[in-house]
Each structure stands twice: as C-alpha cells, then as structure tokens.
C-alpha cells in the first residue's frame, strides 16, 4: 500500500464538472426566503479526477479479497462474487419500496424464500427483515421482548440480564430499549455461572441476552438449564447471532429454547462488510413471540433488500448438503490455530473452542502489549485480530478464522504469530514501532479526540 495524501476538495478547480446532464431551462426560482443564498462548497472535479482519487483511496485499504482477517466475532468470510451480480440485477434495484404488491412478486418471493431458509437453519418460526445491522437487530429483538410482556399485561419486567462476556452492543441495545441491565458473571471456565444467575431471576426480569457460543468461543453447555430457569421465572431468551457461524449446519438456537434471535447476514451469510455497512440484521422469533413480530417499525421500508439477495444466493449455493460443513470447518480452523499457538500465547481457557478463541497476550511479552502484536501483524500483511475484547482478560486477542480460509493461509498466519512472539523476546522495538510498512504509522489518537477536526477546511 502506498500513501496518498489528497482529499477530494484539494483537487477542486472552479468551473470543472463531473456530471453529464442536460441544461435546465431555468424555471426554478433563484432567490427568496426558501432558497439558499450561496451554493454549497462541493468539489468541482472531472470524472477522471474522481475515478483516480477513489481508486487511490481504495489502495490504502485492506479487505477480505486482499488478505486474511482473523477478526474475532466479526466472521470475515469470503464474499462470493456471484452475490454481487445478483444484487445488481435491474429487475431488483429498480423497484420502488411503495409499489403495490402485484408489481413486486419477485422481490416478495425473495423475502419468503430467505425467511423459510433462515427458519430452517435456526429453528425459529419467522423473521422480520427491517433491521439494518446486528445492533439494530438486537434493538428490534428487545422491542419484541417488551411487546411480549406488554401483551401479557406484565408491566413489572424492567431488567435484562447480560453476561459479563457479552458484546458491548448488548447492554447498549437493552438501555436504548429502556431496560435496566443486570450483569451475570462467568465462571473460571468462561461459561455463564448458573449459580450466580439463579438469585438474579424473578418477576422483574424480562429476559437474558446470550451469545452462544459466547465471546470466548465456548459453547454454553448449560443452556438447557439456563433456558428452563429463565422461562421458569417468566423471562425470554435472546440469542445474539454474531457468533452463529460455528452452528451453521450443526445446531439450531431454536432447539435450545431461544425465543428471539438476530442474525448478521454480513457475517454468517457471506455478504460484504462494506467498510462498516450496509449489513442486515434480521430477527427471528419462536412461537410465543410470533404475534408481536411486525409491531416495531425500526427502519424506513423493508430493510436492506439487496443485502438479503446476496444472503439468499449464498444459501442456495450452500444447499442442504454443503451447509453441514460450514460451521464444522470454521470450528476446525479455529482449533487448529489455537493448538498451533498456545505454546507462545497465553491461553486462559484451554478447552475445545468453536469458531473463535481468546489468548490473553504473549506468554513472554517482554514489555510489549497486545496492541503491539496487532500492529506488528499489519507489517506481515495480515489484519489484526479483535483486541482488548472480551473485557474478561486484560490483553485479550480474539481470533476467528472462518471456513473459507485455507490451511496454507492459516499456516502462514501461525508462522507470523510465532515469529512475532520471538521478536517480542529478542527485539521488542520491532513491535513497539509497528506498523512500518502501512501507508501511515500509528496515529496520535489523543490529539484527534482532544482537538477534534471532523471536517475539511482549506
């Protein structure tokens, strides 16, 4: 990657244009109280300027097509190219969201097929597709939890239980939905402490948000007992689908007693992350929550439709045969990397993992930190893992290699991780000063936050 320093505004020259439109005849008012005094200062650039500028920008980016992302809880799997072709079909992209039903049969069939497939894969009854992202799905799911209790006239349930290992979005989503958060602790083995959970349960509990496997990559094997306890106190079980990938083709949350679940189509179902969206976070429900499914109106129209097209294309490629291997190969890859590195990195919980696992820093850090390891990985052409999460371990390094990574890629990653462990012992400066081959070095983040510059000014 090479450093390219321009912003589009710096290429601007008065009078230069990048559009191709007929001239307007001039009927539009040019003044008056409703109209803008002076034109907005947008760049004045030609089409070639624009194409070269954004191509140059793209070349300062790492992506799944560039290299390996061992990014925990993010499921950075390969994004099939067929999906892009289908998402761009004019028969789909030209449809207005308010068109009458009889003119949108094809698009409606896409929703129906995807709904049926996701229900089969997860064991839930039916899905809503309005949520545009995972956190948006969580929010929607919690709204449904609230509707369920309201529907029963049960107004006393004001609290939601969240494990201490949960994704940060869980407590944030519950708070946005007006819930009070109660934290349940994990045991030394990384699983939810059922004994700690029991006294928390009561008539004020709306439900529990679980990630299974959890953010340590461990299957919550007491889920059956947890489901019985939570249901027994009148609460519901919410499934955070961020970690659904290892269960893809293996097990179904609906069979475990979950009542509400969100999926991340941009994780488990191969749609591209797009540098942080658009994703899609459909929410599925069990029989008892079904009557409430369509009540929350959480986004403008029908959700991110072209993302759904991609996910359905992926599911049709997988079919009932290949889906059986998806979760299993993801789990194979994770355990392979874990077993190959545990003599260099501290593995706090040694049991078999699912799609991801967590190291607590280097065994011999020699003054280096997890951040240093992450930045040094960039020098070797890999994306960094998720770091400093989950919060249970101070030097957390969370690694998730998905099923689309080959053993050769994993071996190369393992070799580099071992080399970095060796460098930490012998030449820690290499880690402290990393990255050195990226377009820029570590930025001054304190300055960015203390004296915020959030827009370009000439």
């Amino acid at each position: 990657m090479k450093y390219y320093d321009k912003l589009i505004f710096e290429l601007s020259r008065p009078g230069r244009t990048g559009f191709s439109l007929p001239a307007a005849e001039g009927g539009m008012p040019v003044g008056g109280k409703l109209w803008r005094g002076s034109a907005p200062e947008l760049p004045e650039v030609s089409e070639p300027d624009v194409v070269r500028h954004y191509t140059n920008l793209s070349q300062m980016n790492f992506g799944v097509d560039t290299g390996f992302y061992p990014l925990g809880s993010c499921t950075m799997k390969y994004n099939p190219k067929l999906n892009e072709e289908i998402a761009a079909m004019p028969g789909f992209t030209g449809q207005h969201p308010l068109q009458p039903k009889e003119s949108t049969e094809g698009s409606r069939a896409v929703f129906e097929e995807l709904d049926k497939a996701l229900a089969a894969i997860t064991g839930m009854k039916r899905f809503t597709f309005r949520p545009c992202a995972g956190a948006h799905g969580e929010l929607t799911g919690l709204m449904l939890m609230k509707e369920y209790h309201l529907g029963r006239g049960d107004l006393a349930r004001t609290k939601v239980i969240v494990p201490d290992s949960a994704h940060g979005t869980n407590p944030a989503s519950a708070a946005c939905c007006g819930y009070e958060i109660v934290v349940v602790k994990s045991k030394a083995d990384g699983l939810v402490d059922v004994e700690d959970l029991k006294p928390l349960l009561g008539p004020d509990i709306a439900g529990i948000m679980m990630t299974n496997p959890n953010t340590l990559g461990l299957f919550e094997k007491d889920i059956k007992e947890i489901a019985e306890l939570v249901h027994g106190c009148g609460g519901l079980l919410y499934y955070d689908g961020a970690n659904m990938n290892p269960l893809l083709g293996v097990a179904r949350p609906g069979d475990m007693g979950f009542d509400i679940l969100h999926l991340n189509l941009h994780k488990t179902f191969s749609t591209p992350h797009g540098g942080g969206g658009p994703g899609s976070g459909p929410v599925g429900v069990s029989e008892r929550v079904l009557p409430y499914l369509d009540i929350p109106h959480v986004s403008g129209f029908h959700g991110n439709f072209t993302v759904m097209l991609r996910a359905l294309a992926y599911i049709l490629m997988l079919g009932r045969e290949n889906i059986r291997m998806a979760g299993r190969l993801a789990t194979l890859n994770a355990n392979y990397v874990k077993e190959s590195l545990k003599d260099c990195y501290r593995l706090p919980i040694p049991s078999v993992c699912k799609h991801e696992f967590v190291f607590d820093g280097l065994l011999e850090p020699n003054g280096t930190t997890t951040l240093d390891v992450a930045k040094r990985l960039l020098d070797y052409g890999f994306h960094a893992p998720t770091i400093y999460f989950p919060l249970l371990f101070h030097q957390a390094i969370m690694i998730e290699p998905t099923e689309t990574e080959s053993p050769e890629t994993l071996d190369a990653f393992i070799e580099v991780m071992r080399k970095i462990a060796e460098e930490a012992r012998t030449d820690p400066g290499l880690l402290h000063s990393a990255p050195r081959t990226a377009p820029v070095g570590r930025p001054d983040e304190t300055r960015a936050a203390r004296q915020p510059i959030l827009k370009y000014e000439a």
Binding site: R16, F19, L21, P22, G27, M28, L34, G37, L42, E44, E47, Y54, S58, M60, G63, V64, D65, P90, F92, T93, P97, L98, S103, G106, G123, C132, A133, A135, M143, G168, P171, C176, C177, L218, K221, K224, P272, H273, G274, G275, G277, P278, P296, V298, S299, G300, F301, F305, G319, M325, N335, S340, S351, A384, S406, P407, G441, E445, P452, K455
Partner: protein, 436 residues
C-alpha cells in the same frame, strides 16, 4: 471435501488438522454441545445449486417484478446514478473491508468518511456530522434520542405531521420502548406552548410529505425559547438549492442520502445522515472520523470521540449503534464529487421544471384539483376526481408507478431528472385515456 467452491479444505487437509488438534473427527469438536442439540435431521433447504442455476433462479424472480416508470417519491427518489459510482464502490478494497478499526490499513475508508462528513456539513451548514446512519428514518429516531439526552429530564418530542409517514412510524417505535412521549401535530406553535416544560425537541421536515417546501421562519426561536432543540429532516439533494438547516436555526439536521444517486433497491440499502451544532458534538451517535497525524507528521484519519460508543461505554453509550452504512456513504460522497455545486443545481432545476410541467399538464386534463399553494421542487399532490386507488392501479397496468394515494385521498407524484418530456407526456396521455 474440495467439492464446494468456497471451502478450500481437502480430505487430507482435514485429517492433518484434526491430528494437530488431537481429535478424531469434526464432530468431536462439538463434544461440548449436548447431543440432543446437534441437528440430525435434513435441513429443509433446496439442494445445492450451481452458479448458473442460482443466476437463473434470480433472473426468474427478477422477471416476476413489473418494470415500471417511477413517478412517486415519498422517501425514495428515482434519480440518475452516474456509472462511475457502482464501478468505484464495487472495488473489493472498499466492498470487502471491515469497519476501520485498524486505521493504518483503513485510510481509504477513513478518508472517504471524512469527506462525507465535510460534504454533509457543507450541505446543511452545520458544524459536525457523523459517519452516517442506517437510513433517514432511523437518523430521525436517533435525533429524537439526542434531543432527550441534550435537554436532560425532558421527555417529550414534537413531530410535525408533515413528516413522511415512515419517518413518523420509526421515531414512534424508538420512542415507545424507551418511554419518550411523541406528539404529532401540524400546530407546532400550539404544541410547543402546550408541552414547553417537558419539551426536548421538535422535528420538522424541510419538504413535507405533500412535497411543499416549508417556511420555518421564527420556528427556531420558539423552540429555543421553550428550551428544546430543533431538528430538521431534509432531502440532501434539495439542500443544493434550499435554505440550509443552519440558516433556519436548526440544531440538528437529519435525512436520507438516497436521493444522492442511490438506486431505489426496493427500500434499501440507503444511508442516513446526521449533522449538528458543535455544542452537541459529544452527544452524536455512531462513528465519527477525525483528522490527526502519525509520528512522522503525515496527515491521517481515525475513528474518534469513541468515549461515546457502546464498545467503551456499554449501557451508558449515546446509542447502541456499532456500524454506519459506510459503503452507501461512499456512494453519496462520489455522487456529490461528480455533481459539484453546479450539477446539484442542475438536478434540482430539472426536477423543478419537469415536475411543474407534469403538475400543470395534469391540471389541464380537468381530472384533478389543486390542493396546496406552496412552492414545490419535485413532488406534489393533487385531488383526483376519480378514486385514488383506482387511478394508481390503472396507471400500474399501463406501466407507470404514479399517483400514490395519500391518507387524505389525494394522489402523490414525483418527477426527477430521469424522466424527459416524452415520458411525462406519455403519463398524461394515459391519465386522459383512463378518464374516458
């Protein structure tokens, strides 16, 4: 294995890897999952298809959709998309990248978000913008939450009845579960005085659901006198020519980026935007990109002000938002770069003259009455003499999506630069024939 194109593993690979792990089979990796949870049935899914079969399947579904000439807006506008946009946004360095946490290898994403933030500030006249939201309606809902957070202890938000129905529905949903009171009214002055002591914010459209450009003179003063915040819901394309939220005295501007060349996509993905005065910068939800330097003094960009966000603050965060709608923000940023001030003016000029032409031609048919006197830019409503539903369905049969019935029994039209005079004449001719 080795028979499915997205999975690289051969039988030998799997055997070697299992050996390193020290287990005998893939299923042994699930020994911690209670046996009754391992799904033993056959998944109720179609049998795996080849790439060509999948392509054919979707081509068949797409052909079941009617191809229509779109003359309706109501939150989704059929503007032209310059070719350079899909070409650039489909570059896999943009498309397959993650959220730019590792800033050193994400400068491409961070730079275009910084450009987006700048353009949103320049369109709205406000001081700061975030990295984008899911869509316009959710941006309005987040603005509602922000009003409550900025005014503390106040818990009522007043919505203009002129907002688009899907905006009102979304804000209402967010408010319902958080316990914020929503009042929807077209008597803003009355609403403000009736709820002044508990009023956190007022949300008004720049262009209302009937397409009328709203005169907001004096409103900001009334809202501020009540101690509340003014939020304006805008069409960013129209902001190329309309008075800015800052000029009207708004504290927050939100809206949907879709009119900036994003295809209709049956409702999504679109992208929401949000800008505010600098006083409220630290209350903004979502991602924000800031400029800084690396140790060598090179200009670079990072996600900043993260102390607001869920991964740090958990339940005390300003919002649960985690991603933005990054690729669609890139889409709009490229659009605005290509258009520039003159292109945006021309788009609006074409919308203005063509929509007024349709408006006048429809009135000439004698089949409609005028409803409003105010100025409009590209969208308008008329009162039809024939039942609204019947008109829309008859036009549908003729290949047009036009004359969408409103709650008041009027019909809504929208004309963009995509439709020339010939197409408009065709629509008017069809309307005349229907009336015979």
């Amino acid at each position: 294995m080795g028979t499915f194109c997205y999975f690289p593993h051969t039988e030998e690979d799997i055997a070697r890897m299992l050996e390193r792990i020290g287990v005998k089979s893939l299923d042994d990796l699930y020994s911690d999952v209670p046996a009754d949870f391992i799904y033993k049935g056959e998944y109720d899914l179609p049998s795996a298809m080849s790439e060509q079969e999948v392509r054919d399947h979707f081509a068949r579904l797409a052909s079941m959709n009617r191809k229509l000439k779109v003359f309706v807006g109501q939150g989704a506008y059929d503007h032209c998309t310059p070719s350079a946009i899909p070409y650039l946004t489909s570059r896999s360095e943009f498309l397959t990248a993650y959220t730019p946490y590792q800033c050193e290898i994400s400068q491409g994403t961070l730079r275009y978000i910084f450009e987006w933030q700048t353009m949103i500030c320049r369109l709205t006249g406000l001081d700061c913008s975030n990295a984008s939201m899911y869509d316009g309606p959710t941006a309005a809902a987040e603005a509602m939450r922000m009003c409550v957070a900025c005014t503390r202890k106040r818990n009522t938000v007043l919505l203009s009845a002129g907002l688009l129905p899907h905006v009102i529905a979304t804000v209402r949903s967010y408010a319902k579960y958080e316990g914020t009171q929503i009042i929807v009214s077209d008597d803003l002055a009355g609403g403000i005085s009736a709820h002044a002591s508990d009023l956190a914010g007022v949300i008004v459209p720049s262009i209302d659901r009937d397409g009328i450009i709203r005169d907001l003179e004096g409103l900001a003063e009334q809202v501020h006198a009540a101690g509340a915040l003014l939020v304006e819901y805008c069409d960013p394309s129209a902001l190329g020519v309309l008075k800015t939220p800052a000029e009207w005295g708004a504290d927050i501007a939100v809206g949907d980026g879709q009119p900036l060349g994003i295809p209709l996509n049956f409702g999504g993905p679109y992208v929401g935007f949000m800008a505010c005065r600098k006083d409220y910068m630290r209350k903004l939800p979502g991602r924000i990109v800031g400029q800084t330097e690396d140790a060598a003094g090179r200009r670079c960009f990072v996600l900043t002000l993260q102390a607001r966000e869920q991964h740090i603050r958990r339940e005390k965060a300003t919002s649960n938002i985690c991603s933005n709608q990054s690729l669609m923000a890139l889409w709009c940023t490229i659009y605005l770069s290509l258009m520039g001030p003159e292109g945006l003016r021309r788009v609006n000029g074409l919308c203005w003259e063509r929509s007024h032409y349709l408006h006048d031609e429809l009135l000439k048919t004698g089949l409609f009455d005028e409803v409003h006197e105010g100025e409009f830019l590209k969208e308008f409503v008329l009162k039809p003499h024939i039942p609204a539903e019947r008109l829309m369905h008859a036009l549908l049969d003729a290949g047009y999506f036009a004359a969408l019935p409103t709650a008041e029994g009027n019909v809504s039209f929208c004309v963009t630069e995509k439709h020339g005079k010939d197409e408009i004449d065709g629509l008017v001719k069809t309307v005349r024939e229907l009336a015979r």
